[in-house]
Symmetry: C2
Subunit: 589 residues, 2 copies
């Protein structure tokens, strides 16, 4: 029977009854198993699709069980099965990033702490406890108060002898706690990766973070295939997988600072429109059908409890609003984080992933679009492609020397390495401008297709190169269409913001050399890093940023490329290295 | 083994294994059993305290099971057991009370309906669905929207081709429904009785109602004993019993109009402070200890879902605010319903029950107090006392002729009958002003105590009369203390409002004759009926009434009688029939 482990996509054949833990060992897939497979630690949790004989276990909740979570050491193979390993140790280890306190000035977080002394009741003034607390906090009788708080109030106030912290949101009381630190949570809910940061609400400093895969990968690598799964009836499972991914990382981050769930009193989540729908359990199908009108772009302020996030149930949770079905809250967060909407200079923001989103504008206007780049930059559609993890070649020099991530032999090439490789091959004449491989010592033919071998076992063929060219052409054509819609040329762009992990790792010269990014002076390049996460944090900590996020999302003009005849022309023109029109790329030539 | 059935307090001895259904037959206690005891209809639900062998049944939820609900036909006696029969048919039959539409003018209910047409999305305007709905309803992006609504919105709007009703509350959307009637629910959560009315939010008319016992009776007849049970760890069970009582009646009322749960989109509950605490699951213990400061007097607007009411989960639910531990939302509702706070005339509002609450004042000022009258008027502490149900003597003439409720032989005397009886005995000289029975053909002695027999098997003795005198003295002393605190005399009272079922059934001349009510001209008497329910309805339908309820509750001056030396003097002076000071009762003498 065949067992496939994701996200590594490693397959192993075993006999019926072999445990998934044993199968993982055979497949050299690393699982957490501090207890050695005795079923006591609950750390070898995987998500299965297929047939296993599994024992119910107290480490797995009802909702997780329904979503396919199982303990690998307690699950026997009973048929072909696909196993998602949700927690590769190298990704999920919490990174504690203590920053200097007081770094953020003029903080106005979604919930604000106020330390109060609750007056003691007397026969002369037997005012009810809740009214005394509201009065001390400067709130009126119309303030909202969660029922759980009314219930816990007598005990909390009594235990603290009236010296308590009150957390106030826009509508009223969020919680009342003993004096101590309180945190907000910023979440980047990516299609592939989820990152959670805990932020001290007094200092604005990030005190802990954790990152891991979005467990939804089990239901499809890209957004479109997951929307299809939702339409087939798997929406609830997709919701559980997204929440499970966030909650697992939340628990790790809280544990890293010895905190408690109830100290996390607000959260902001940034994700694309489909992720936002699935996390809330809202049907995302309209996202993939004409006229691409989602169920919501801006959600109201919700509570962690109604969503299912494992923080204080009454914590207000904001999803960063999006602009359209294919330009979501992650892009709004990127804009807010870049500050391009506050400056007069013309900026271009590019987020390259399976979808390439582009935003153009300044403080007076903003336009945006999205084009389907395909998964080539994420390691898909390329035979030797892989994600940026241990064993991935992430850098290739012009001499075809290369660097491998982690202390591992090379297993494949990730996006930044592929771009370097194509640029080097173009420079050396190994590939021509149409993407055809030339005669060269490293170029051989297999099954009638020419391939170039970088090192033993790792090669790119002409199909791979064609896929890469289509991906970079889609992004560049989107940039060109947006500029044309604004009546501007590439040269007018004063600042180019590269968003996302890809933007962080890519070599800008090589990205320009292959025609992925426009050829403007390199000192105009700005690297935002994880701007979805940074924007979520900004929105969490600042009322002006929250208002800006809503304003940006609501006011950006969305240019739909799927109905644009110009886009096809631009795309076709970009199917060369770097482009049909070489005058667009004057510098590196 | 001994089985005691409440609220009738009938006891029967049976052998182990006999079903509660059979025991009820032996005890002549009526149970619903449309299926004849086969366990299929689920209507013979009772609440047990003691030992039974019961089968789990799909008619009983987890929460109900934990609270002690069982099917009588599927429960065998396994020891001494007390059985609460929650639903005497004569009390709970829904009364459909259709009123004329349009009766209420200037309605401003807690949620208001707005019929909208949701614009269709197009490529030119692919605005997200939620934003289109909010825009059509005139709401901004900051409006609150329940997550359940975001989830259901695509299907509801699609099914109705965009022609939907939007229900708007103070903070945003409450629900979106197909066109049709929508209702609000007014609830009187009494210590003994619960009444639920459904009100059409377009006309203001009451379309259905249901009344039944508060199942908490199983945990104690009066408020104090229930607070003690809460302190002993039974708060959650008390909460479930209160909610179960309301929910059972809600289901009946909705069924009476062939409605659905989701059409009931808001609710207002009026109850005393202890009932409000227990319904919300908030520790009520501070209510019975010095300085009598409750956990809350005014609760925030909550949702039906967080409380556990079986109406639309997102429905805003308001508890009518109270003033103090012993003057709760039922009294505020009574004041609002009476209108005394809007008029210049000096009014006195009296609510006689196990506690006697009294409010004095006019549009400029309000004062209130509470005194413990004891259960005599509710049928307790009197050997032949019973509640006003079938078989109760509710009227006694001056010739000692009497009237019995329902088509039944007399089983006891309810509060109004007891007052009539004492007044008649006083008039005929059978009892003297100190409550001592005189020589009379009906007066005999049993176990050394004199008793007066009204009819075979029904008699009152001197202990019963002493209890009744103490009860009426407590109420009258409260009235006197409040007037003294205001520097006024009884003669200054221009309107006397009698609240509650007791006020509705009592004969005013007889109540004055025994010294329960003050002797003022009868044309100043006003009978409010169930003013707790009427006030809840007023608050539900009118923004001004909601504001008035808050204002009344917050501004009433509470006079604490437990620390008042005057109260003891007044109480002692009132331990005569009608009073020590006969000049206070000039008219009927």
């Amino acid at each position: 029977m065949r067992v496939t482990f994701l996200p590594d996509d490693v397959t192993v054949d075993v006999e019926r009854g072999v445990s998934l833990m044993q199968a993982a060992e055979l497949a050299e897939v690393q699982l957490h198993a501090p207890c050695g497979g005795k079923g006591t630690c609950g750390r070898c949790k995987v998500i299965i699709s297929g047939s296993v004989d599994a024992e119910r276990d107290s480490h797995i909740s009802d909702a997780e069980w329904a979503a396919g979570y199982r303990l690998a050491c307690r699950s026997g193979v009973a048929g072909d099965v696909t196993v998602m390993v949700p927690d590769p140790p190298e990704l999920s280890r919490p990174r504690v990033l203590v920053r200097t306190p007081g770094e953020v000035s003029n903080m106005t977080p979604i919930v604000q702490r106020s330390s109060i002394e609750v007056p003691v009741a007397s026969m002369d003034d037997p005012t009810a406890l809740l009214e005394r607390v509201l009065g001390s906090a400067g709130e009126g009788i119309g303030a909202s108060v969660p029922l759980d708080l009314i219930r816990s109030l007598p005990e909390v106030v009594s235990q603290c002898n009236g010296s308590v912290d009150v957390l106030l949101g826009a509508k009223g009381l969020v919680t009342v706690l003993p004096r101590g630190s309180v945190y907000g949570m910023a979440v980047d809910l990516g299609t592939t990766t989820v990152v959670v940061n805990l932020i001290d609400l007094d200092t604005g400093g990030t005190v802990a973070g954790a990152a891991g895969y979005n467990d939804q990968i089990l239901m499809g690598e890209d957004v479109l295939s997951r929307i299809e799964r939702a339409e087939e009836g798997d929406l609830e499972r997709l919701r559980q997988l997204a929440l499970g991914s966030i909650n697992r990382l939340t628990v790790e981050a809280i544990a890293a600072i010895d905190g408690s769930t109830d100290q996390v009193t607000t959260a902001v989540v940034a994700g694309n429109t489909a992720m936002a729908h699935m996390m809330l359990g809202v049907d995302p199908s309209s996202i993939r059908y004409h006229p691409y009108s989602p169920a919501f772009n801006a959600s109201p302020m919700l509570s962690a409890g109604e969503i299912g996030l494992k923080i204080l149930p009454a914590a207000p949770v904001m999803l960063v609003p999006g602009t359209a079905a294919w330009v979501g809250g992650d892009i709004t967060a990127g804009v807010v984080s870049s500050g391009m909407h506050r400056r007069s200079e013309l900026s271009l923001l590019i987020d390259v992933g399976t979808n390439g989103e582009v935003v153009l504008g300044n403080r007076d206007w903003l336009m945006c679009c999205s084009s389907s780049a395909g998964p080539a930059f994420d390691g898909g559609e390329v035979a030797c492609g892989m994600r940026a993890m241990d064993g991935a070649i992430d850098r290739v020099g012009s001499d075809l020397g290369f660097h491998v991530l982690g202390d591992a032999p090379p297993r494949g090439i990730c996006g930044s390495g592929l771009i370097d490789l194509i640029a080097a091959m173009l420079e050396q004449g190994i590939v021509d401008r149409k993407g055809r491989l030339q005669d060269h010592i490293s170029v051989t033919e297999r099954d009638g297709i020419k391939e170039m071998t970088l090192c033993p076992g790792i090669a790119v063929n002409e199909d791979d190169i064609a896929n890469l060219i289509r991906s970079k052409a889609a992004v560049f054509a989107a940039i060109r269409c947006l500029l044309r819609a604004a009546g501007l040329t590439i040269g007018a762009v004063e600042r180019l913001h590269l968003a996302g992990g890809f933007g962080h790792y890519v070599d800008p010269d090589n990205a320009v050399a292959i025609g992925l990014l426009p050829d403007i002076p390199r000192d105009r390049f700005s690297y935002l890093g994880n701007s979805s996460l940074a924007g979520a944090r900004d929105v969490l900590l600042s009322t002006p940023r929250r208002l800006e996020a809503r304003e940006v999302a609501a006011s950006m003009t969305y240019v739909d490329l799927s109905t644009s005849p110009e886009f096809f022309d631009e795309f076709t023109s970009a199917l060369f290295l770097p482009h049909t029109d070489l005058s667009l790329f004057p510098r590196p030539q």
